[in-house]
Subunit: 320 residues, 4 copies
Amino acid sequence: MNTIGHIFRLTTFGESNGAAIGGVIDGCPSLLKLDFDFIDNELCRRKTAQSAIASQRLELDRIEWLSGLLDGLTLGTPIAFMVRNEDCKPEDYEAIKDVYRPSHADFTYEQKYGLRDWCGGGRASARTTLPIVVAGAIAKQILGEKDIRVSAQVTAMGDAEQALIEGDTVGGIVECRIVGIPAGLGEPMFGKLSAELAHAMFSLPAVKGFEVGDGFALAKMKGSEANDTFIINKDGKITTATNHSGGIQGGITNGNDVVFRVAFKPIPSIAQLQQTVNRAGETCEISIQGRHDVCALPRAVVLVEALAALVTVDMGMMKL
Amino acid sequence: MNTIGHIFRLTTFGESNGAAIGGVIDGCPSLLKLDFDFIDNELCRRKTAQSAIASQRLELDRIEWLSGLLDGLTLGTPIAFMVRNEDCKPEDYEAIKDVYRPSHADFTYEQKYGLRDWCGGGRASARTTLPIVVAGAIAKQILGEKDIRVSAQVTAMGDAEQALIEGDTVGGIVECRIVGIPAGLGEPMFGKLSAELAHAMFSLPAVKGFEVGDGFALAKMKGSEANDTFIINKDGKITTATNHSGGIQGGITNGNDVVFRVAFKPIPSIAQLQQTVNRAGETCEISIQGRHDVCALPRAVVLVEALAALVTVDMGMMKL
Amino acid sequence: MNTIGHIFRLTTFGESNGAAIGGVIDGCPSLLKLDFDFIDNELCRRKTAQSAIASQRLELDRIEWLSGLLDGLTLGTPIAFMVRNEDCKPEDYEAIKDVYRPSHADFTYEQKYGLRDWCGGGRASARTTLPIVVAGAIAKQILGEKDIRVSAQVTAMGDAEQALIEGDTVGGIVECRIVGIPAGLGEPMFGKLSAELAHAMFSLPAVKGFEVGDGFALAKMKGSEANDTFIINKDGKITTATNHSGGIQGGITNGNDVVFRVAFKPIPSIAQLQQTVNRAGETCEISIQGRHDVCALPRAVVLVEALAALVTVDMGMMKL
Amino acid sequence: MNTIGHIFRLTTFGESNGAAIGGVIDGCPSLLKLDFDFIDNELCRRKTAQSAIASQRLELDRIEWLSGLLDGLTLGTPIAFMVRNEDCKPEDYEAIKDVYRPSHADFTYEQKYGLRDWCGGGRASARTTLPIVVAGAIAKQILGEKDIRVSAQVTAMGDAEQALIEGDTVGGIVECRIVGIPAGLGEPMFGKLSAELAHAMFSLPAVKGFEVGDGFALAKMKGSEANDTFIINKDGKITTATNHSGGIQGGITNGNDVVFRVAFKPIPSIAQLQQTVNRAGETCEISIQGRHDVCALPRAVVLVEALAALVTVDMGMMKL
């Protein structure tokens, strides 16, 4: 369950403070000349230490390419890559080794596995999303050749600078748009493009909501308001006058922009004192120090784009 | 892509006005005594012709069990079942055979497949959800033996009776709750319970939004408001004081109720006159008559429950 | 585990003496005009009661098409079909209900599932291969459009007429050849064409051996004898002078005919008296009457072809 | 298609002369204390330079563990590992960069991908089986806790020392036995244990044949000779008097030893002069120097065992 995709597949591995974080991309076409600068640039968009509100953890995030390439060209074989975890500070976590941080995955991981990697967020850390960005950058390159562009932005966010002062954190919403996506992409029933996107987005840490087109607002509309009338555009092509559907009807693209929004809860690591329970089953208090974001939203943008690109490439390959 | 589930798997087939609608359940444990009355009752909850606001299509929906059973006991082999489509009226659709109904899947299916089953909604019809209810009923029975209960209800809906008069339709929201689900269910990364549920719910027609716990509202909260404090309950067990997370942290259940909401857009088949385009690429007008719901919400409740049950059983089987 | 294929997928269902036997084909391209006569003809090749050495069970094997078709054209949606089991005689099996027939799956199914469908071979019956023939016929049609032909024949078989007299059965070998298959088909590592074919063939009842090209004989050769020298053929294309490899090198086709052989053990249902054990754990004797083949080989030919066609279509779709 | 397994899954990556060879194991239970000495020992069994007849390539094969472990205990998360390729000599291959070696995958890879990694065997090299041994060792450890033992041996092999003198190579047969495997393992239809084993074995380079139990010899027997009579053993348990079936009936284990054989063709890299064709489509001659085995059989033993262990663990986890 650490693999996403049906044909263009990404398997990821790594704990936040383990030896390395990485991934294996299987199903990437051969003869693609990887744009390493673009990949590095995408990683920069995700990286920490970019502003006052982001975690101060320093990572060079230098990708080592392990396989699947010959002189920068893809061989069609699995592309494995990794990034070493270099700035690990397990001592930051020693104090809370036996305490369940509220709304973190400490408790649930222990319930599931009987142990957890306490030296940081382990497998549940946001750091584990790094391979998604690498694979997403390659997917974007594939889409770029077909003039399909994926771009996201933060459309709602709490007052981060104020939260920083208060030892608190904030959440927000990222909106993403896939432009140039052809009509006819997506599968009926259990392979709808909307379902694949929803699945992908909920794979990101802290995601609690997902909507396509007008989403939850559609629940309050009438059919006559919500329907997207078909029209002939100036190029003589069939399109829709409005885009309440977010470019997807019956799970399949209609050629309009695919539009969706992702809701992120605030990061649960807050400096404020919280009540909680420890492994011994005793109530206790916790104040989470260490290096954490006040808000994950700015760096979530590239993650949302990356997953959208992965899903789009994969669904494109499914089309017979 | 007509299969859902990893171990407990449902494959569905059928067009709305074809010979039959049905499914194959693979991975169902043996020696389960199927409760046929319960299954029929669940189908009744989904069936048409229950009220003024639902479609007047009459279907007996009598299930024929084709395989996998011996004297009502599951054999562990695939359970195939089907329901004949008996009250088909293709003549209702003859007039709109070559017209793309706004916000329907007519256009997208044609873009994808080069043809579509115009005698009704085809594969995109809500009728194709029938096998989900059958499989969901079996999943509920499996969960019931472990005291896990899945129940949904409509929590928001437009004014249906008014819309009926106006030749319009309305959408709404269904909220679902899984009670008694054990902690430790769900997989990290790409198999989070929230992601599996999101994927499943977006497989239903007309779904445009999905949120877990406080969902989109969490995007506006601070960490100190959103966090669920761990406490010891009166039975000495660890639980959380609040349930903003909807029972899922890091993609894995924490033992609290799993709570999520699904947003449905209004049914696009409205009697009001709409502008659209036909297959010849000419603009035209359409008024959709025939037998259609004013609101899909009442019958969506059992569908949401069924998929939630399928996902829960499947994820339970994934747990090593 | 009742599904074969990655993109062109067949899910089968049914017990030998249950209500029906059938399948669901998912991933079949749209706009294919099914050749029903050809499908029926293929079924005839598999059918019982063709000669003195085959089972005397009478089945009309009339296919009911349940979904995925419009006026004989594939819609791109799941094609479900079934055949009723009409000539069931559970009374033939009543006597051996509690006895484990030697080298049958009675004992292993009970060990796995805790019960078994004793009214015939259940899910392990050769009758359950019927859907493979139907799907295989469709696959052959797809291949035929690309001038790829799959044909098998019996190359070794015991003396069946003598075995009939002695209340015994015989086994044999089927050789299959795929002509016109393009070079470059098959995936490295765990998706080799040879591995996919091996997996498919071992899905047939009674298969105990599989070899590609010169197979086991290659184990005795030297490299200098076994290697297939590349040459330029009269059309200026690269091919090999010999075909010891059976058209597959490194798991991928080289453009030569793909050649493989499948070894079938004798059918275990023999009229001769055998010692065995019953469900109560007592030793007892058994003489299997009923309607059984003396040799499965003649009807295995079309099964081998069908699975080879399914695998070839599926691997062809995997090619990016 | 670089992944094997359904629940206990191994994804491998790497070219023979690329940066590294490695794998990701997903679905390994948590809290397993890895026996690193055993894993290293298994790797030694596979390693080169063990005798006169094996390749003289020197590799330390030191495993770097990248993820999934905490103090030697499995976390339940993906276990990634790799081995650097250190003794690469691309110059050995420079001369044959544009020549298709007979019965190698050079030609087929180029047909499939449009390019190939000419610096060695690339993805088709036997070196890429290294991760299988690592994962197999872990699988063996899991099986060992349940007293299931997998052991293989060479049962037939050409005269290697003579072939060495003649610049030739030889093939052979490996027989494998799984002892202690419980009855009821394996799935009907397309998940038979025999089919899963066949698929796994054909994933190894140079494999051209596979048989279970008496295999091809069964094709010549009568039912009365081939059947395995059920008996009560001295512990009062049901077993079979003979084991012609190789422990598998109807695709499911009967509790007897699972026995199978794998046929390997001779390694195609021979020093003798061969005729062939180059990329320009011209006939030419080739004498393959470099560091190659005369016979792969001795080191294939541990590979056969490793894959058998992987399949057994995976099928064990499939059992509901």
